[in-house]
């Protein structure tokens, strides 16, 4: 075995020899190769991620463990994290996506939390191969999530050319646990305790998944990587989840770590380091489902549905009994030692003898850039996609319909309908809404959940895109009057060895940092996926941000649509100089310029006000939505289409920059419908809080949407509900409602 066969560079190999003080054997080289891979070591991102704010009074567990944990109330805590499964999903979409769901569920379970919700952030190319991948991914997510019984309560799907050969599958899982239970994770193991392997017997599947599949760029030849993709079994996953939670409940579990990327070596060495103990593992005791597996294969296998448990002596027996109730066996494979050494045996023979910290923390890290200041904004204005100033000359209504029916804008129901969004009977608002609302058993409060990460916005200015993703998520939580408790970040980018990719990544993280700081929300964990690059073509840097908020009245969400028409439409915190940068409109015209920088202090101010206004039961706000893709126009269309059939809307805009006003996607803007009788007082309140506001229309009785530009009106169009619905629900390959967008 040579170091480069396991993916190590010459410099890394030299470092390994230094640490060991000798030439490692083949198995040891393999262990280093797996754990020093980009996927496991975060060697290119660790120092950059350190920039993110991670503290707050509500934070119970920050980054570094299986998942972040935040406090919901005195009794209940929320564990949540996003994880990517991009590379496997390209090679084998159904199983790649399914095992992504299974993996993040196990992470949450390992924190002693019961998974209550899933959300997915998916990216595909637009041509037919993208559709094939998408159908497979959706089938895989549904197949696993539906069977294991965790509802998929929301998510997002976007398209772009770079994703054609680098689809993104980021899955967010949320779980609840009681505060009174000791914090569970990998840090509680003590010398003398026994180590158990629980779940599926180990096979030869997924060997090198982390080190080779997820830590390299793709080329056309990589279809032969298919054997490195694992196969998911939601049935065993369900039993494993219940057995692990039941074992934890007995008090007999000292530490838990799920087996994911780099299988047993990763789980066991992580556990040893987090608990600051040594481990002795006996590989001949590992239950295998194939014969004559080598120690190397056992350590590297990524067979799914496995957990590593360390049981204490007081209640360990009860934990084992609880596990057997679920028809699973836990097999003892080793013990915890005080030596600090990580020693593997096969029969009588010692086959590896290292320090676990060499594996987990020894990998040389790439230094982070020192320039911690936001890069200068380079606007290109006016957007080359729209040179005309007036609506009258260059603008036709077909353009607006094209926005409503754009793949990035249209309705997603044909996808979400394939996921069980209602199991566990806590979903008040599911995937039909832009923010999900759940009740939480055992708390008067509930959860607001949102996920967003638009690569198009980060394409030219990754800093702006990172800040915008955080802004949209926190804004969506604020529309529910919810207090943002924490964020999780799924960062996707190309090959980090390329300077331009590394720089874009750093700028994206800086944007996330600045927005999270300004909006006062910690980032409690996440995931980095590099090497989303095939044949040299990389994805747009894509910052997927998930947010968890404390909802104060979850059984009565703040509406995002209307059932009465006596309202005035307000654009709150409107863009000062609306820009089309990064918009759907630009992409449709084949050009992308820099997405505008979110005015973070204005947004923080607006969010604070809105949170109070929306949480108030007697609020004057009848409905509110965040302006994002498709701009104000799409927010209006969606609010209207979701409203009662008797509600019509008349939208009135000034002629100057009307196109930009309507289609700018600058984050931080809100569309709110306020009772017309109370609009004066709302405007006064906004004014006294120094929050900008434009009146952009009125509700009316009737079944149409009317757009008037100019005063007196120079350009007027009206659409019937059925006309607009047809555009917004235009799914390609549609057959009787079963097609997918």
């Amino acid at each position: 075995m040579t170091p480069d066969a396991v993916g190590l560079t010459a410099k890394e190999a030299e470092r390994v020899r230094q640490l060991c003080g000798r030439e490692p054997n083949d198995l040891e080289w393999g262990l280093f190769g797996a754990l020093w891979s980009e996927h496991c070591s975060y060697k290119s991102s660790k120092r950059v991620l350190a920039w993110l704010p991670k503290e707050g009074p509500q934070v119970v567990a920050g980054p570094g463990g299986n998942a972040g944990v935040v406090r919901l109330d005195d009794r209940m805590e929320i564990a949540f994290k996003v994880e990517s499964h991009n590379h496997p999903s390209y090679v084998e979409p159904v199983q790649g996506a399914a095992t992504g769901v299974g993996g993040i569920i196990r992470d949450i379970v390992a924190m002693g939390a019961r998974p209550i919700a899933l959300m997915d952030s998916l990216r595909f190319g637009l041509e037919s191969n993208g559709q094939r991948l998408r159908d497979g991914v959706v089938a895989g997510i549904g197949g696993y999530g539906n069977a294991i019984g965790v509802p998929t309560v929301g998510g997002e799907v976007y398209y772009g050319p770079g994703y054609a050969k680098n689809p993104l599958v980021n899955v967010l899982c949320v779980g609840v646990r009681q505060s009174k239970d000791a914090i569970i994770g990998a840090s509680g193991a003590r010398a003398g305790q026994m180590v158990y392997l629980l779940g599926q017997a180990t096979g030869r599947d997924g060997i090198h998944g982390a080190s080779l599949l997820a830590s390299r760029d793709f080329s056309a030849a990589d279809q032969d990587m298919r054997p490195t993709v694992q196969v998911g079994d939601p049935y065993t996953g369900k039993l494993l989840m219940e057995a692990t939670l039941a074992a934890i409940e007995t008090g007999g579990v000292a530490a838990v770590q799920d087996l994911g990327a780099a299988g047993l070596v990763s789980a066991s060495s992580e556990l040893a380091v987090q608990s600051q103990v040594g481990l002795e593992l006996h590989l001949d005791q590992v239950p295998c489902r194939e014969s004559a597996m080598s120690g190397y294969e056992m350590m590297m296998s990524e067979t799914q549905e496995r957990m590593l448990l360390v049981l204490n002596s007081e209640h360990g027996g009860e934990a084992l009994a609880a596990i057997s109730q679920w028809g699973l066996n836990a097999t003892p494979i080793g013990r915890v030692t005080a030596s600090g050494r990580y020693v593997l045996y096969f029969g009588e023979h010692e086959v590896a003898n290292l320090e676990a910290s060499w594996l987990v923390d020894g990998c040389p890290l790439t230094p982070a850039g020192k320039d911690l200041v936001a890069p200068a904004f380079k606007p290109m204005r006016p957007s080359p996609a729209y040179m005309d100033e007036g609506f009258e000359e260059g603008f036709d209504e077909g353009a607006l319909m094209a926005i409503a029916s754009d793949p990035d804008c249209r309705e997603r129901r044909p996808i979400f309908q394939r996921y069980d969004s209602m199991i566990q009977t806590a979903t008040v608002w599911g995937p039909d809404h832009e923010v999900s609302v759940l009740t939480v058993d055992g708390s008067p409060w509930g959860l607001a959940l949102a996920v967003s990460g638009i690569g198009r916005w980060a394409a030219v200015d990754p800093y702006a895109g990172g800040a915008a993703a955080v802004s949209v998520v926190v804004s969506r939580l604020a529309t529910q009057g919810a207090q943002a408790l924490g964020l999780t970040d799924g960062l996707n980018a190309g090959n980090p060895d390329k300077p331009e990719v590394k720089q874009a990544f750093e700028q994206m993280v800086l944007g996330i940092r600045d927005a999270a700081r300004a909006l006062d929300v910690p980032v409690t964990g996440g995931n980095v996926s590099f090497h989303n690059e095939t044949d040299g073509a990389a994805i747009w840097p894509t910052p997927v941000i998930g947010g968890v908020g404390r909802h104060f009245h979850p059984t009565a969400p703040v509406a995002d649509s209307l059932n009465r028409s006596d309202v005035t439409l307000l654009l709150i915190n409107p863009a000062l100089s609306p820009s089309l940068g990064g918009s759907v409109w630009e992409r449709q015209h084949g050009v992308l310029t820099a997405y505008p920088r979110v005015r973070l202090s204005d947004l923080a101010h607006t969010v604070t006000w809105l949170r109070t206004a929306a949480a108030d039961v007697d609020s004057d706000i009848r409905a509110v939505r965040v302006v994002a893709d498709g701009g104000l126009w799409l927010a209006l269309v969606k609010m209207w289409l979701a409203s009662a059939p008797s509600v019509g809307m008349t939208v009135t805009l000034e002629a100057v920059h009307a196109v930009q006003r309507l289609l700018s996607e600058e984050a931080g803007q809100f569309l709110a419908a306020v009772a017309t009788s109370r609009v004066e007082s709302t405007l006064l309140k906004l004014q006294s809080n120094a929050i900008g506001c434009l009146v952009v229309g009125q509700g009316h009785d009737g079944d149409h949407l009317e757009l008037q530009v100019g005063c007196p009106s120079q350009w007027t169009r009206r659409w019937s509900r059925s006309q607009m619905r047809a555009a917004w629900q235009s799914w390609e390959g549609d057959s009787g409602g079963s097609g997918t967008p």
Binding site: A147, G149, M422, I423, T425, A426, S738
Partner: protein
């Protein structure tokens, strides 16, 4: 006699907790009974909940149909000692075991579907007089295999015996009988036979207005033959 509800948990059941919670919220004494038990103790009402028993491997419900507890169930049904409700996977299990006639095939779309639907009582079951013809319930479905089928020879008997209990209807559209979310024969959503009832929709998920409907409260109360709360 106060009803005593037993919810059977098979390996892979995933609506067991929701179902227990739903019956408890109606004030019924409810407990979970494991699939490998050989008796139903003092249960008066038995529910086979939704989920993916045995991972739906082989065929949905096929393996659970022969779990040890099912012998006790068949026996108790034969003695007229219990009333049985199969929801979703529970309905599939009842059909696989032959306790209810017919079978559940893959949805015609070939896809899992989770959506809110309206169902209407077509034939009130003799055993549960509270369900009246034309009564409508808003309940969610969530399944991949919900297309009810039955052989031609048994089809007439199904109607003649008054077993066609529930069908899907479109509340907005004209009552043409053509609305059909999964391709079920005659849009059948549930059937009954003596003391046994099975349906694909999930009444236990429709217990609160904020979840989308509280029609499940009425439905389950009528099945328990309790005064609805």
């Amino acid at each position: 006699m106060k009803p005593k509800v037993a919810v059977i948990r098979f390996p892979g059941s995933n609506c067991d907790r929701d179902t227990v919670q739903a019956f408890q919220s109606l004030g019924a004494e409810t407990k979970i009974v494991a699939y490998d038990r050989e008796d139903l103790e003092d249960a008066t009402h038995v529910v086979l909940p939704g989920g993916f028993s045995y991972g739906d491997y082989l065929r949905a419900g096929a393996l659970a149909a022969h779990a040890p507890i099912m012998h006790a169930l068949v026996d108790a049904v034969g003695r007229g000692a219990i009333e049985v409700l199969g929801i979703c996977n529970g309905f599939q299990i009842l059909c696989e075991r032959g306790i209810l006639p017919g079978a559940l095939f893959a949805n015609v779309s070939g896809q899992f579907r989770c959506s809110w639907e309206w169902v209407e009582v077509l034939t009130p079951p003799a055993r549960w007089p509270g369900f009246r013809r034309g009564m409508r319930f808003r309940l969610p479905i969530a399944h991949a295999d919900g297309a009810y089928r039955i052989g031609n020879s048994d089809r007439e008997a199904l109607w003649a015996q008054g077993s066609v209990f529930l069908r899907y209807v479109d509340p907005d559209g004209p009552d043409t009988g053509e609305y059909n979310p999964n391709g079920s024969l005659e849009a059948i959503a549930g059937i009954s036979d003596g003391p046994v009832m099975g349906l694909m929709p999930h009444p236990e998920r429709a217990m609160q207005p904020w979840l989308g409907s509280k029609d499940g409260r009425l439905f389950l109360s009528l099945w328990l033959q309790e005064v609805p709360q």
